[in-house]
Symmetry: C2
Subunit: 147 residues, 2 copies
């Protein structure tokens, strides 16, 4: 196989839609990796595009960089991730993602359901009850996904 052409930071920025400074930042946080040319410039493998795409989509739905980094740690250090590698990450996230989806549906449908209770009978509201139950359990703020 011909060696896959490497990308400069500017090319990655353009293709991924994130700023160069953000790519530097992600690298500092261990989310992406690069090696350097003789002249100390970053060069990226193609898999960085997938990583950045995942970072952006994940962030959009409220997953923190720390959580993304933790998930990415299941990926191999030295080589390009294989299907098994991504599969591991996928299953690691599956539950958390399903939970988020459920939350969104609850929000969407909860609002709809609230039309039925009209806030006159708030004790029946599924949203409120969920939170109130948490309160009774003495639970504070909660994070989704991996603890």
């Amino acid at each position: 196989m011909a060696p896959v052409k490497e990308l400069t930071v500017g090319q990655v920025a353009m293709r991924s839609g994130v700023a160069v400074s953000a790519l530097h930042f992600y690298e500092g946080r261990g989310l992406i990796r690069s090696h350097r040319t003789a002249g100390n410039q970053r060069r990226y493998g193609r898999d960085v595009l997938r990583r950045v795409a995942i970072i952006r989509v994940a962030q959009e739905v409220g997953i923190s960089l720390a959580e993304i980094a933790a998930a990415f740690h299941s990926l191999p250090e030295g080589r390009t991730p294989t299907r098994e590698d991504w599969n591991l990450l996928s299953t690691a996230w599956r539950d958390g993602l399903d939970h988020k989806i459920a939350q969104l549906k609850k929000l969407r449908d909860g609002l709809t359901d609230c039309i039925g209770c009209g806030c006159m009978s708030i004790d029946k509201c599924p949203l409120r009850n969920k939170e109130d139950r948490l309160a009774r359990e003495g639970t504070g703020a909660r994070r989704l996904l991996v603890p």
Copy 2:
């Protein structure tokens, strides 16, 4: 009907599971409202519990306080929201929520799909392609929901 009993800030904090300081903060941002007793203490109507519940669930899926506040602005100022009021908010959010759900599913299923491409044929990856298309359009960061 008997007048619904009002809640102190501490009671709202306990029942909703958010800190008193956060409630003050939300009030400063116009997300919730209170009136004051003769002694300058906050008193909340019952609908504040629903608002806080919505705030928390919405935040968990990556919706900013500004966006929540914007949505809440469709709610009436002076009176307890009716079913029509919440309905308006619901329909205002519906598209954004559906989009978020789609994003999450794409992330979840995209990762699964990536098992098929194994990052060897990254040009076929639905995640990467989506971002790359954005890049070609010269698009920068994007926010969901109302602009």
